[in-house]
């Protein structure tokens, strides 16, 4: 068979498209998983967290998170006692400093190797694990100029890293600081709620590794999920509710000092 110049020019783009498809391969499908049956979220039980850092290490292992970057991290809050001497005079009145407004917050290396021993017995301490809140109405997905980040039909905020330009608009837009630009891939990276695991019936790596059950993956569309009973019987809050992001990381026992 002899191909003339005209036929060759017509065939070249077709061959390029075919080769692209060969390289892309077929992604593994989870045959029994239907996106429309799920609406994922996370329950974080603050009184149960002991700050061991298991979740941070597990997330790094599971998702190849580079050192110094975090898809999840743990913060330790220290809210001091009210002090009758701590305050300032305003128009002749002595106004006490509210410790809730100015807590001491530490997170050494994201809490990956745990926290230093606290010896100051005054005030109160608690640990706050943080991660993507998988907001139903998230600012991060709204600012993407190319449609590379989105909320999936099952309620998980994801990044299409083949499509992302790395402009970092979403990194700035996230009110919770949950996104970063991957130093090697140079595209936005974030918690996927272990999408590759939850679509196979596994829980997330952080939940699997948590020794105290302080983190629970929840499916709000599953009527049998214990989250429904929990939400009825506990005072649960999301971070920064005033931002109206529709956050789905529910915190039990969240203190007012947490930002």
């Amino acid at each position: 068979m002899i191909i003339n110049r005209r036929q060759m020019l017509i065939l070249l783009p077709a061959a390029a498209v075919a080769w692209e498809a060969v390289l892309a391969g077929t992604p593994d499908a989870s045959p029994n998983y239907r996106m429309s049956d799920h609406w994922w979220g996370m329950l974080i039980d603050i009184p149960k967290c002991i700050g061991c850092g298991n979740c941070v290490r597990a997330c790094q292992t599971e998702n190849d998170v580079p050192d110094g970057y975090f898809r999840t991290w743990v913060e330790r809050y220290h809210v001091k006692d009210w002090d009758a001497k701590d305050g300032e005079a305003v128009h002749g009145e002595f106004i006490l400093t509210n410790p809730l407004v100015d807590p001491d917050v530490i997170s050494p290396d994201g809490g990956k190797e745990g926290f230093p021993v606290a010896t100051d017995e005054s005030g109160k301490y608690f640990f706050v694990p943080k991660m993507c809140n998988h907001c139903a109405d998230s600012p991060c997905t709204q600012v993407c100029p190319v449609g590379a980040t989105f909320i999936s039909p099952d309620g998980v905020v994801l990044v299409d890293q083949k499509y992302c330009l790395g402009c970092a608009y979403c990194v700035q837009a996230c009110p919770y600081g949950c996104r970063y630009i991957h130093p090697k891939k140079e595209v936005a990276d974030k918690c996927t709620l272990c999408y590759h695991r939850i679509t196979q019936g596994l829980t997330t790596a952080c939940c699997e590794a948590c020794p105290t059950g302080a983190r629970q993956l929840v499916d709000l569309k599953d009527p049998k999920d214990p989250i429904h009973e929990f939400l009825k019987t506990h005072s649960v809050q999301v971070l920064k509710p005033q931002m109206a992001t529709g956050a789905k990381a529910f915190y039990n026992g969240l203190d007012g000092s947490v930002r």
Binding site: V22, T61, V117, T203
Partner: protein, 189 residues
């Protein structure tokens, strides 16, 4: 037809617009990925690609399929809800061989078109024969204290000790069996 008198240049211009629009449609057809807009303003195929990431933590059910004796021992004790991989690490680290380096474009081409390469036996998963794998026991001096070192920051009800004074330097497992840590549950092995 006096309306269209001397209007040839307008028709040529309109024709140019129509042509440009057709070119736009053709280019758009090739540039925009097929699955874009399948669920929303994004590439629908990305969801499948993200879901194809390999899992490394296998879940306690996987471990318990073989180690049911340990699972039974754990059930009775305070560590009942501590999953296997919380202490032993992700299963893949002990079962899977190191990942082969990703072939470059040329190697992929050779493997696909010229001759499909047979799988390298050294890279096959070891899970089929667990006897070839020696599990590394976690160091209790690191592992136990990570959770149980006394600190004012930890929840008050959580069991905490000063490691130095609590055991006088003896390893934790002298008295506590990690799968069921109560001393009367048979500490020393």
């Amino acid at each position: 037809m006096s309306v269209f008198k001397d209007a040839g240049h307008l028709f040529r211009f309109a024709g140019l617009f129509v042509l440009a629009f057709l070119v736009f449609l053709v280019v758009r057809h090739f540039v925009v990925p097929k699955s874009f807009g399948q669920y929303g303003h994004y590439r629908g195929a990305a969801i499948g690609e993200i879901a194809a990431h390999p899992a490394k933590f296998s879940g306690h059910e996987t471990c318990e399929a073989c180690h049911s004796d340990v699972a039974d021992k754990k059930k009775a004790g305070k560590h009942a809800h501590v999953n296997c991989e919380a202490c032993h690490g992700a299963l893949f680290q002990r079962l899977a061989a190191p990942e082969p380096p990703k072939p470059n474009l040329y190697q992929q081409f050779v493997a696909l078109i010229v001759h499909p390469a047979p799988p390298d036996p050294a890279l096959l998963h070891h899970a089929e024969d667990p006897t070839t794998v020696k599990a590394v026991l976690p160091d209790t001096a690191v592992l136990c204290v990570r959770c149980h070192t006394a600190s004012a920051a930890k929840p008050k009800g959580f069991p905490q000790v000063e490691p130095a004074s609590h055991s006088n330097g003896l390893p934790c497992e002298t008295c506590h069996q990690p799968h069921n840590p109560a001393i009367d549950a048979g500490g020393a092995k």
